[in-house]
């Protein structure tokens, strides 16, 4: 690598430096926009004792769920974890620590972490189990709780396109938590479908500026769909897969 060129050529290189007991922030919503190959590399490395921060925890054989069988995750911070039998088993057995966090609070924790804001007040969760042990304050007659920001030793991100400097463009709802995760990693690793030359991306259309990004790798993606719902013609119809 030279100058601002952040492209690496192997997944091993992309995740070099990830060690046991680190915190990893991952982009993605459900299985949409997840850094599937970076997750597979963590499985291959066998890194253990990880704290994972991600909206969801994949399914049994895809996404972050693949880190469960070998007990690589010590703790997960997520908003919704219901799609995964092994996850439920480990949680119920007390083998896996789970910190359920409201989705908007989770997004804001990443945003704040990346923006140098250590904590923020939110009305979300007031009077619920989420508020337990947290400082409460009243502003303009309304109660708020103090939520702390999150920073990861690593952030793993999936984008659509990147240039060699790490400027990123996301595609459709695969954006979700990815730009936030990208800002909140001490080491931010991004896998993309296409790497283009510097200057090819329109500066006005860049979603994440390269300053947040440390490593870029081009991958191929399965992009598994969780709920394949279709309509036959002009009518709504739901078909579970």
């Amino acid at each position: 690598m030279a100058g601002f060129d952040k492209v690496v050529s192997s997944y091993e290189e992309a995740m070099a430096g990830l060690n046991d007991d680190m915190t990893v922030i991952a982009g993605g919503f459900g299985l949409c926009g997840i850094p599937e190959n970076l997750i597979a590399e963590i499985k291959r490395k066998g890194t253990k004792g990880l704290t994972l921060v991600s909206n969801n925890c994949g399914v049994d054989d895809f996404g972050l769920g693949v880190l469960l069988p070998n007990r690589q995750i010590k703790k997960i911070v997520a908003s919704y974890v219901g799609e995964n039998a092994e996850f439920e088993r480990q949680m119920m057995a007390g083998e896996l620590e789970v910190e359920l966090t409201p989705q908007g609070t989770l997004a804001e924790k990443m945003r704040a972490g990346g923006a140098g804001i250590p904590a923020f007040f939110t009305a979300t969760g007031v009077g619920t189990p989420v508020a337990e042990g947290k400082e409460e304050r009243t502003f303009n007659g309304r109660d708020y709780i103090l939520e702390e920001a999150l920073v990861g030793d690593f952030a793993i991100v999936k984008a659509w396109k990147a240039d060699r400097y790490g400027n990123l463009v996301f595609r459709k709802t695969a954006r979700n938590f990815n730009p936030l995760a990208a800002t909140a990693g001490k080491m931010t690793v991004v896998e993309v479908e296409e790497i283009v030359e510097v200057g090819e991306l329109d500066p006005d259309q860049i979603h994440t500026p390269g300053i947040y990004v440390n490593r870029i790798i081009q991958g191929t993606f399965e992009k598994r769909i969780e709920q394949r719902t279709t309509r036959p013609s002009d009518q709504y119809e739901t078909k579970g897969e």
Binding site: F29, G30, L31, C32, G33, N55, A78, S79, Y80, V81, G82, E88, M91, V98, L100, P102, Q103, G104, T105, L106, A107, E108, M110, R111, T122, A123, T124, G125, V126, G127, T128, P129, V130, W160, R171, K172, T173, A174, R175, N176, F177, N178, P179, L180, H207, K223, R224, I225, E226, Q227, R228, T229, T230, R231, P232, S233, Y236, E237, T238
Partner: protein, 218 residues
């Protein structure tokens, strides 16, 4: 007769107004999109980062990068926009969404809602529900009035862990349309063919009945 899931959705759809930005929760609320009244424009917000959700795709249109908050494949309506999760919840928490519709396990007379967890049985998480109930002023909860065994879900006090405190003002069940004010349930409408007595029997929290209660109209 108790309302079907479709009828619940149909009744809530009558509350939609022209120009509303609406967030629909998973389950019955999702069906409301099928009953948007003719002649009005409504834009659906999906908290994973889409404003202007369209209908389900045809098989040819399926795109793994385009889903809704229920993780279903969708399309974008004309005029849609895409954004990250922090922006999405800025819209929600910041009170920019005009109407939120979501499901619940329990609601009580103080406007508390429990919808995300049954200790020891079901721990899936709150997703965006806590942010939605904290951020919205105009919320409609859709739920069944009682369990299959006849145990009321409209309570004097919620028994399950709360999703939000003092935030619910309107509830549409399979039996009744109810408003919550001053620490009481107020019966506004009843499902066609359902008597006031049946509703009283299945409502544990204090229920105010003022005059003749009209039937819902479809």
């Amino acid at each position: 007769m108790a309302l079907s899931r479709e009828q619940i959705a149909q009744r809530v759809a009558q509350e939609l107004k022209d120009g509303y930005y609406v967030n629909l929760g998973i389950g019955i609320p999702t069906l409301i999109a099928n009953y948007i009244p003719k002649g009005i424009e409504v834009m659906l917000q999906s908290e994973n980062g889409l404003l202007g959700m369209g209908q389900f795709p045809t098989i040819d249109e399926i795109d793994a990068d385009l889903i809704n908050a229920g993780k279903q494949t969708v399309t974008m309506a004309s005029g849609a926009s895409i954004f990250d999760s922090a922006e999405s919840f800025a819209m929600i928490r910041g009170g920019h969404v005009d109407l939120t519709v979501l499901g619940a396990f329990e609601v009580d007379v103080n406007g508390n809602i429990a919808s995300y967890m049954i200790p020891g049985k079901l721990i899936k998480g709150m997703g965006g529900a806590m942010d939605l109930v904290a951020g919205a002023d105009n919320i409609i909860v859709t739920m069944t009035h009682a369990s299959k065994h006849g145990v009321s879900k409209l309570l004097a006090q919620c028994t399950l862990p709360l999703t939000g405190k003092g935030c619910i003002k309107k509830v549409l069940t399979d039996l009744a349309f109810i408003e919550i004010r001053e620490g009481k349930f107020h019966l506004i409408e009843r499902a066609p063919g359902v008597t006031v007595e049946e509703i009283i029997k299945l409502t544990e929290g204090e229920l105010v009945i003022n005059g003749d209660i009209p039937e819902m109209r479809f």
